[in-house]
Symmetry: D3
């Protein structure tokens, strides 16, 4: 399969062009040769991740957090040098989808998390730079649900806000929408205090843990629809 | 003592006017009447903190994290309403010092942390919007030092970077300065990955825990030099 | 009636969300308790206005000029402290509508002024930051009309531009639209000179005087459609 | 005398290069021929002013309010066409000094106003975009002083803030500096309300009236030091 | 014919209002009297061009490059004084259309160039600040085509990108669109190197030479549809 | 020699930190291993240049035009991929100095050019984003001097402005400084017209040709003071 066909397919599927994102989404590192037979998926681009992806036979890595943000890469030195060097040496391309992979109804982190939590009446919520990326939903039964190691106690009928990654800033917006619980990945201290001041309950289930949902769903979609060989490369904790 | 004399004294002591800070430092909430007999200190402005400060007899609260940031307060609703309402009802003034209380050599979080860790040859490092707020220093002995519950293992002679609060973005700068360890309060996931990519060891000792050092040092300075009655109001975990 | 129902009704009625305004429109100060039985209307938020509104039994003040502009309130000190203190002490909420209350065809200052002046063929004109807020119209008879103490001489058939408040900057645009008269509230000296250079006749009828029209029309609409108790609190000249 | 010598002399005298001004100060319109024998002074550039200046024999007009502001002149149409056409047809150059002519200790509007009001202990105050342009001073005797038609009652020993033109925004700053009176040219309605909220007495003595002081002082300085023929062209009220 | 009718006709024809252009398009210099009997066309506004236009009897000049860009004209001195002085002395108005005259399908530089080169399947390409101004097309035969003195060798079936003026920055975009040749007016050195790095063939056919096409096509349209007397004033090389 | 020692030496020598430059100066691409035995110099970073530099045995390339500008590199694709790939494959580092290498009195393009042209009384001129990068000087004899293929006729005593690269925008500033000739590398069409309107003679001597002077002077300085092996790699015209 051609690299350009795959990247164009993901661009369309996730509506990448519609997002005003601090991540420079889509293809971030090219490669020599356009043929791709195997695609590796992960949350974060790192030299270690790329080396393991290449070792698995992948020519393309698809991640949630790439290496080009904002204005771009000022210097190919330090950590970013390591990532680019790993990709160039292994001749592996890198594709990143950040907010589009939070927001997608079909395979975004937040719809996937909401389905995982058993929410119903899911609808879009929480606007980041004009992009509505999270969701709210209604808990469909009492009980405790897990995201990674974190326990999420749910009461049937309560309204729950969900926004993956570092999204503590939306806790108060969740309260205004009538939620009694807001689930995110991680929250800065300022957002923890703001949520407390507003009287909003917030659970931090892990930045990484809340963001494996999207890449895995995208992996399934690509395997199913493009018939590509795929592999998920989990993070190795150091 | 007059409120204006106290705020002017802190402004001078911390050189508040020299910082380009996203916090609108100095007096953030006024009060009726200029006489202050007792000053409460804490890390974060919250309705609970202010109520306990007022209950202790304080007319002025001095904090690291106030309620006015960036352009200011758009609406006195939600959580910020609760804080302002608590202050107005109790007739308590609020003073905030953010970056100036990170950076001060005499009573800033980072010099205090460095002294707490037994570092020597302390010097300024880590520039945030043109404000140099952190420090580096050389570990003076082998062993484990604690910040709150967090253990910091140190090897004599190693260079250590220190920046309180949410300062993970400086991990790579610490490496460039020759540090083998970077101590901060909390780090976003992106900064954790960036530090890993750069091969930099980083310890997160708690945003709150790393920032009690500065307000307590300022409290001691005010008690000593202005002869004011003071009290530190610790956070009650919810 | 619930505070949130009233504010949402005004937001919809005036299409508040469509305006790019330097005023932070909609609810600016909350209150304890959601029940509102009486609403006070005025042009400008001041401690005196709020105290008189509260004395009249109002739980909510609706004004054209609130207290939160641009980035927001940097410090609750000085004059803004007085206004917020008055609202907090009296437990009165504050709602502001600036450009939306200039522009509304149903109850905005400028359509009301145009009807007051007897203009016909009224149409929108004068764009401020992308918001078309004023009107032009054709005088329907000869004679002098008054706005407050100011006499406005009109000749049947002449085209008149109208923009309430401080809108002298539109005088030359009025000329380009074929107006022979431009009526505003107040004009800065620079705008007076620019109008003279362009050969445009401009009448300043008072910032306050031209902006009582909108709040009074909104008061009538709320009284009529929401059935709320209302009162207009005029300014007391000092 | 050469035009370039005169403009360089004023640039130096008023330290024009030090000001971050919305007016594009210094020479705004050139002329054919560098010889200048007579200089006309006025507050505002208008076609009428320029025509009268040319009729008096002037080759150069020096004003407080020129025709080029901010990014510059977008179109030579309407009112600005009239002014430029008048200058080009009469071959008259135009020089503008805005903030520099408010601030100059030797011949700025505000020091001149302060001397006119009999203030002593005059010192700089009121910063506009980093430029300190106004003054404060202490009234030296009881009584009423006039600026144009406006009466300014003064009590010996009271501190007075002075800022010419449209400077009502500084009323609250004057209060913080301990002034009991703030004198300006004109104030927008928002500034009037803000001053009232802050409990600050403000007198509006006229934008034009407060700004004849600077150009006249500059005229005297040029007549005295450069030996040039000069004339002041007063505004004719329309 | 009235000046305002002509300018409004061109505004509509070229959809001037739709472009976000650094040129302040439409009428840039007005004139005394609204009657226009003859219109001169040229690429660049210069004192020499305006003088020759006036000598030919024109009351209006229409150009691709006017004199007002960005924020506008800061000072009527130096070169811009010469141009304005020439226009004012000869009482000639000036109209400029920059990007709208690059982009117009009917009479823009790039569609005209594409037709001149014999391209088929012409479609819009190359977005500058949100304005799509250039084209791509397919060469319809083998051979060499000329633009001014520059030879453009074409191979039947190859895809060619065309963007008049200084548009070398689009060379790499042309490659991404599948072009094997990019034709522009002039390219900065940085763009030449960037095109080489990307392996893209680029021909610079002259800024002036590529931009006579649009004004001449507009001239024909105005002559044909408005029935105005027109003249093209070519540049005289100095 | 260590890479970091060389880059720090150039940073100091050219005062790189003092420039507000659109080029992200200093080290742009790192390499594996810190030892550098040979340094290649050139004007422009290209895959071809880097390959030839590596073939000559260089571990470090020093250029005037690097690959990271403004916010940085958004995507490692297309032309920039080729350059980075060449550097990574050959394990060659890249150092860029843009404005600092225009401005340096010791080895900058413009002082070198001025000395080449035989100018005397050389002094700094022409400010770009606050950086004074060019020079003026007085021709010391009559005659023709060459820069590359371009002839520069000079008359003894005339004042000449010099600014390498694409600096046509300074032509009018040169006139205001009393120059009768302005020498630059290349000028955009708009700057050519502006210079003509202002009556200023400008010679374009080639962007590349005017910018070999600085890198060659830096090469001599490094060879002399650091004792490094160096080579200049000229551009091969394609």
């Amino acid at each position: 399969m051609k690299l350009s066909e795959i990247t164009e397919w993901i661009d369309r599927e996730l509506e990448v062009g519609k997002f005003d994102d601090v991540s420079n989404n889509s293809l971030q590192i090219s490669r020599r040769g356009d043929a791709v037979s195997r695609i590796a998926f992960g949350v974060d681009a790192s030299a270690d991740f790329i080396a393991r992806a290449a070792a698995s036979g992948a020519e393309l890595c698809v991640v949630h957090h790439g290496i080009s943000w904002g204005g771009g890469i000022k210097r190919l030195t330090g950590g970013v040098y390591e990532v680019v060097k790993a990709a160039m040496d292994a001749n592996v391309a890198l594709y990143a989808a950040h907010l589009p992979l939070d927001a997608s109804e079909k395979c975004g982190n937040n719809w996937e998390l909401a389905r995982h939590l058993g929410l119903k009446d899911i609808s879009k919520a929480f606007s980041y730079h004009g992009n509505v990326i999270g969701v709210t939903g209604i808990a469909s039964k009492d009980g405790v649900c897990r995201i990674g190691e974190t326990e999420i106690p749910l009461a049937v009928g309560e309204k729950v806000g969900v926004c993956s990654g570092g999204a503590g800033e939306f806790a108060e917006a969740a309260k205004e929408l009538g939620c009694s619980l807001f689930v995110t990945g991680e929250a800065s201290w300022g957002d923890v205090i703001a949520a407390e001041n507003a009287g909003m309950r917030m659970i931090q289930a892990g930045h990484y843990e809340t963001e494996t949902f999207g890449v895995k769903a995208l992996q399934r979609a690509i395997a199913g629809e493009l018939g590509a060989e795929t592999v998920f490369i989990p993070r190795i904790q150091k």
